[in-house]
């Protein structure tokens, strides 16, 4: 039923001049799928950059399933609608509001993908045997590695491990393997018993990338990878970064930094902030960011409850520095008191807290609200002298 749930996900459509991208997030929030169609492979009548988000209703889904090879299809993507003209008629889907959960998920998934590296690459017939090798079900973690005739599964990580949990989530990828001639699996190192991975399939004039979270029970939206950047509200380089991405469809971090005249850290922070609003995505195939032209950007606190809570703690004056150690901060949160130990230089990285969130996640799902507040508190204290 995962496939059914994913099929119910409604796409965000972006045209950036080079690619026509259809993105979707599963209902569980732990699977992100993106189909990038190469614009040069389309008979493009007119092309302006932009993004829309529509609800694909059963009649359109059903009609698209009926399209046979060679049958003409005209697709018009506009700001307010997607129009599909088929031999049987015209179907129009109107723009809908993008769920906030999706915005969070899109932002966090791109942070995860950015940290990945290619670990398996298959070309030719072995790609098509992947459908045979990937388990059709299973909750436990298995490891995937390349073999001459496809993929090999093991129970323990190899030299370049790709951990896969919830293999049934790969269902949307499998029917496409029939048309694929290249598969690249990107993965990050395992953290806290899991790692997300991105499966990129090259199709004729298109690419399909399926990113699955570390575990079926973990959606992207709760990973907290953007919170550190969002908590730091000192500098806002968003406009510069958007300008760079407006000039070229896909840009690497180093190019963004260079063209915008920013340090890599500041460029990354700006990209993170924009990603958290859903305005930037990451193309793992091209190792660069691309822009989504969505009407979001101001609701970061609402989208990130931990960030909002950390600011509430700061506003309430609930923090105090330990007299003996300026990396230790005492946080009064409701009726509880927690102790935060910040990382080197007062950073969020390497920090810990005695709260329940930290005990449960070990910091693997981003900083807790106390750590976020403590880092800002210390920074302000330093700034105040």
């Amino acid at each position: 039923m995962v496939a059914r749930r994913i099929a119910a996900a409604d796409p965000i459509v972006t045209f950036d001049g080079g690619w026509l991208r259809f993105e979707s997030l599963s209902q569980c929030g732990g699977v992100h799928a993106r189909l990038d169609v190469d614009a040069s492979g389309l008979e493009l009548a007119r092309g302006e950059t932009g993004t829309t988000n529509v609800d694909v209703n059963p009649p359109l889904a059903s009609a698209l399933a009926q399209v046979v090879p060679g049958e003409p299809m005209r697709l018009s993507v506009g700001r307010d609608e997607v129009r599909v003209e088929l031999l049987d008629g015209v179907l129009v889907e109107k723009r809908v509001s993008l769920p906030e959960r999706w915005v969070r998920g899109l932002g966090e998934s791109q942070v995860q993908v950015r940290a990945m590296e290619p670990r398996v690459e298959l070309r030719g017939p072995p790609v098509r045997s992947v459908a045979r090798d990937v388990p059709r079900a299973g909750r436990g973690v298995v490891y995937v590695e390349a073999a001459a005739r496809g993929l090999r599964l093991t129970s323990r990580p190899g030299r370049l491990p790709v951990a896969l949990s919830g293999a049934d989530r790969m269902a949307p990828l499998l029917p496409l393997l029939r048309f694929a001639d290249r598969l690249v699996i990107h993965a990050a190192d395992e953290v806290a018993g899991g790692a997300s991975s991105a499966w990129e399939v090259a199709l004729p004039t298109a690419r399909f990338t399926l990113t699955v979270s570390a575990d079926p029970s973990r959606g992207f939206s709760g990973e907290g990878g953007l919170l550190a950047a969002l908590a730091d509200d000192e500098l806002d380089d968003s406009d510069s970064v958007l300008e760079v991405l407006g000039r070229r469809p896909v840009s690497s971090m180093s190019r963004i930094a260079r063209v915008a005249g920013l340090s890599t850290d500041r460029a990354r922070r700006a990209v993170d902030v924009l990603s958290a609003s859903g305005l930037i995505g990451f193309d793992v195939g091209e190792q660069g960011s691309f822009r989504r032209r969505l009407p979001y950007g101001a609701a970061l606190e609402r989208l990130n409850p931990r960030l909002a809570s950390s600011r509430a703690l700061l506003d309430a004056g609930a923090l105090s520095l330990d007299a003996s150690d300026d990396l230790r901060v005492r946080v009064a949160s409701g009726d509880h008191h927690h102790q935060v130990r910040l990382g080197p230089g007062g950073s969020v990285s390497g920090a810990w807290c005695t709260c329940r969130w930290y005990a449960r996640t070990g910091g693997a799902r981003g900083p807790c609200k106390h750590v976020l507040a403590a880092a800002q508190f210390r920074k302000r204290r330093d700034a105040d002298g």
């Binding site: 496939a3 059903s62 009926q66 496809g150 029939r178």
Partner: protein, 855 residues
């Protein structure tokens, strides 16, 4: 008080009581309408309890009566009283509650047309503000079971028809008589089409009234067949022109293209079957049927294949209509679908004009997971090969990389090329890595799994975090031991230091309800209290008592008494072992700690001996039952336990916790005596062969297999059995752990393939399913073909005629090609020589032939 009719209210009430008790429901409806909504509301407090009491009286009378007339009177009396309560209800919820008379009278109060019409008449006249909400609720909620009344309110125009899937689900389940209802309300057809498009509960069509096997009570009312089942109703309506037959067929075919489960799709196949399409109707939709060959669901593909095959023969379907989809069925793992597709392509390829295109579509069959599909594809290609163009031959050669090793000779004979020319891996050589540019691990030799490391001792911060993790139930096994150690060490500090140390947790731990915590959490609370100089709450009692619980109690007592000393049972490796040179540790520690120390350093396995370990298959329990006697000679240790069952004491307490990390910790207590953890968890382990681990079913089998894979683990008497069960496991993670364990056990000569296979054979075919074992052997083939070959031979020798043995024989052929042949045992040679033509015989003869060619 005077009512609207000019009489006194008391008189009106007397009149109502008489009407109700006589069951004159139409008159009761008129009475309510005459009074009006305002007057009824004004007397709600009187009418509500009165009406409810009358309903109860009527129920009691109905239950106690034998006379049918009394039953009938009670029914209408109860219905009339309930109608009064509904009429004066304050909200839709209150009205729905009053409607709840289902089942008491043997039928719903609102099931009867007289009653329903009276209710609609009353509510339509009174128009309470909650009426649309009531209709919406009744047509969407299954638990109200008043769909008929809700639908009557909708059809009377008193409420809009709901649009959400819950309504569609109820409509599909409840509406009836189906054909009659659809004729009466053609608008319902649009709702039906929505379900066809996937916007509703497709599965209910197959599980509910749509299924010929299912006749819910609501559909046993003597309706004609056309009104009972959706499929027959739709076929009837299409026959009489109420709905367009062509539209119905096209929508059905569109539904079958959906990526949905078979539970949903099978109803559409049933409908298609009942529509009995004519040859002309098939021909008119030839391209659509051809496109079903690429449907995601293999059963749908299986449905389309004979129709396409037949149309191809009749000329109704052109080869160029079918070829765009003709390769798709080979991506289905189902053998029968692939073989049927081979027959279709074989038929297309009989025409030389289409042979090349057909051969290209057949290419993916060469990489099909089933070797017999590959074999059948080779048979077709052997006939076609000379006629194929060079580009087609090149394309097929590319696809042939996926051939099973045992088919490579045949491929090379067909193409006349050697393996390097074909691009196919050579026999008995490591497969080529040319198809993969990064990450290929075929050339890597086997490396034994490393034992996890023990984390370093905790500093103050680490101790606080470990206590926090114990409180939250997220502590890792060795982190817990380090916390025990750190707690004992902390006792040497003055009270002020200790208070400061645990201060960050003191407040939150004091707020915890001990009953919501696991035993580790309770221990952490008590430890924090003690270190802070507070009175300590007891952390027990625990049932059953285990070594682990004793350990926690013992340590806590020492912490409470302020004793500071080293923790002497800390292992040297993450699996729990204390290395031989670590045996001479301090003799400090309580009896439980000394016992842990002893067990963890018991390399000679003399401290605790399981003897006469025996087990027997119990297929009816779906588990083997272990028996053994335990020689509990705990050398140098005065253990008086007081526990009846020492094995339970040493193994993980199943009622204690089901979290993987806790089980992993429990396993570290007996690193040399894995059997103690297995003896009384046989049922759990066997359940895990068939089911994915979950929060209620920990990955015990996987954990044990991972332990067995470590070269320093001495396999006990039960290791072959556990390994055999692991090979038989359905979850991929467990099966792969078993494969790793097999490689390690054989490579390090701790076990033989014969020991594993003989245990499997003893389990029998119900517990050692060879189809599953073949899947594990397929995985093993990718790791070590020689071990796969030897194990396949051993399994075939021990289970020569078990169901699925042919699949093992197929793996044997491949393994021989990759690892080189070895002489088969005489029993298998004799079996192959029998006059059988089964797949097992064929594959065995192939294995023998392969060996002789090699010689």
């Amino acid at each position: 008080m005077v009512d609207r009719q000019g009489g006194s209210w008391d008189e009106a009430l007397v009149e109502l009581d008489g009407l109700v008790r006589r069951g004159e429901i139409e008159a009761v409806a008129n009475w309510c309408i005459d009074r009006g909504l305002a007057e009824l509301a004004a007397h709600r407090r009187q009418l509500g309890p009165w009406g409810s009491a009358v309903v109860e009286e009527a129920r009691a009378a109905s239950i106690n009566a034998d006379d049918a007339n009394v039953h009938e009177l009670s029914y209408y009396c109860g219905s009339a009283a309930a109608l009064v309560v509904v009429a004066c209800a304050r909200s839709a919820g209150g009205a729905a509650e009053a409607l709840d008379g289902n089942g008491v009278f043997g039928r719903s109060l609102w099931d009867d047309q007289r009653v329903r019409e009276a209710a609609v008449q009353t509510l339509g006249a009174l128009r309470p503000r909650w009426l649309p909400a009531l209709a919406d609720r009744l047509t969407r909620n299954s638990w109200d079971q008043q769909w008929e009344l809700g639908w009557a309110l909708v059809t009377a125009g008193l409420s809009d028809k709901p649009t959400d899937p819950a309504y569609l689900e109820q409509m599909a389940m409840q509406i009836g008589p189906i054909a009659q209802s659809l004729r009466a309300d053609p608008g319902l057809i649009d709702d039906v089409w929505r379900i066809f498009e996937g916007d509703g509960p497709g599965r209910f069509w197959s599980a509910g009234p749509a299924s010929p096997d299912s006749e819910p009570a609501a559909y046993q009312r003597g309706w004609p067949v056309e009104d009972r089942y959706w499929s027959t109703a739709l076929v009837t309506l299409s026959a009489d022109g109420t709905i367009d037959r062509d539209d119905l067929i096209d929508r059905t075919l569109a539904a079958l293209r959906r990526n949905d489960s078979w539970a949903v799709l099978q109803w559409f196949t049933l409908l298609l079957d009942e529509l009995e399409l004519s040859a002309a109707e098939h021909a008119a939709r030839a391209a659509k049927f051809a496109s079903l060959l690429a449907a995601p669901n293999p059963q749908v593909v299986g449905l389309a294949q004979p129709i396409c095959g037949s149309m191809l023969q009749d000329g109704a379907l052109r080869p160029d209509d079918v070829l765009p989809y003709a390769d798709a069925p080979f991506f289905q793992p189902t053998k029968v679908v692939a073989l049927a597709q081979l027959r279709i392509l074989n038929s297309v390829g009989t025409d030389e004009a289409w042979r090349n295109e057909a051969a290209v579509c057949l290419g993916p069959a060469l990489a099909h997971p089933r070797a017999d599909v590959q074999e059948a594809a080779l048979t077709v290609l052997e006939r076609w090969w000379p006629d194929l163009s060079s580009p087609t031959q090149a394309t097929l050669t590319d696809q042939a990389q996926g051939l099973a090793p045992s088919h490579l000779r045949r491929w090379q004979a067909l193409t006349g090329a050697n393996s390097s020319e074909t691009g196919v891996p050579k026999n008995r050589e490591t497969p080529t890595t040319s198809s993969s540019t990064i990450g290929t691990n075929d050339t890597a030799g086997w490396e034994p799994p490393a034992s996890p490391e023990v984390p370093p001792p905790l500093d103050d911060d680490g101790f606080v975090l470990a206590l926090a993790a114990m409180l939250e139930g997220t502590a890792q096994p060795m982190q817990v031991e380090r916390a025990l150690e750190a707690a004992l060490q902390a006792c040497r500090h003055p009270l002020e230091y200790r208070q400061q140390l645990v201060a960050p947790l003191a407040e939150s731990s004091a707020r915890r309800d001990p009953w919501t915590l696991g035993q580790l959490g309770r221990w952490a609370v008590a430890c924090i209290e003690s270190l802070a100089g507070q009175a300590t709450q007891p952390i027990g009692p625990y049932e059953p008592a285990t070594l682990m619980t004793d350990l926690l109690h013992e340590t806590l007592q020492e912490i409470v008494s302020g004793a500071s000393r080293p923790w002497t049972a800390m292992p040297d490796g993450g699996d729990g072992r204390i290395q031989p040179d670590g045996r001479q540790r301090s003799a400090e520690g309580g009896p439980s700690e000394r016992l842990v120390r002893l067990l963890r350093s018991d390399h000679e396995r003399t401290a605790l001996r399981l003897s006469d370990v025996e087990w027997a298959p119990k297929p009816d329990h779906h588990a083997p039952i272990y028996t053994c006697s335990l020689d509990a000679e705990l050398r140098g240790h005065t253990f008086d336990g007081g526990h009846d069952d020492l094995i339970s004491y040493l193994s993980m307490p199943t009622t204690w916790s089901l979290r993987p990390q806790d089980i992993a910790w429990a396993l570290t207590l007996t690193p040399h005596h894995l059997e103690t953890a297995l003896i009384n968890t046989a049922v759990v382990i066997c359940e895990l062969c068939d089911n994915e681990p979950s929060m209620f079913r920990p990955p015990l089998l996987t954990l044990v297999l991972e332990r067995l894979a470590r070269p320093d683990q001495q396999p006990g008497d039960l290791a072959p059995l556990i390994t055999a069960l692991g090979l038989n496991a359905k979850p991929a993670a467990t099966r792969l752990a078993a494969v790793d364990a097999v490689v390690s056990l054989i490579k390090t000569q701790r076990l033989t393939t014969t020991e594993i296979s003989s245990s499997g054979a003893r389990l029998g075919n119900e517990l050692f399913k060879l189809e599953r074992v073949a899947r594990a052997l397929q995985d093993l083939l990718g790791h070590d073909p020689a071990i796969a070959r030897d194990l396949a031979i051993a399994v075939l020798t021990d289970c020569p005629k078990a169901r699925g043995a042919h699949a093992i024989a197929t793996i044997l052929c491949d393994a021989q090609e990759l690892a080189g042949p070895v002489p088969l045992p005489a029993s298998l040679v004799e079996l192959a020589a029998e006059k059988g033509r089964t797949k097992l015989h064929t594959e065995l003869r192939r294995a023998i032939a392969s060996a002789s060619k090699s010689d």
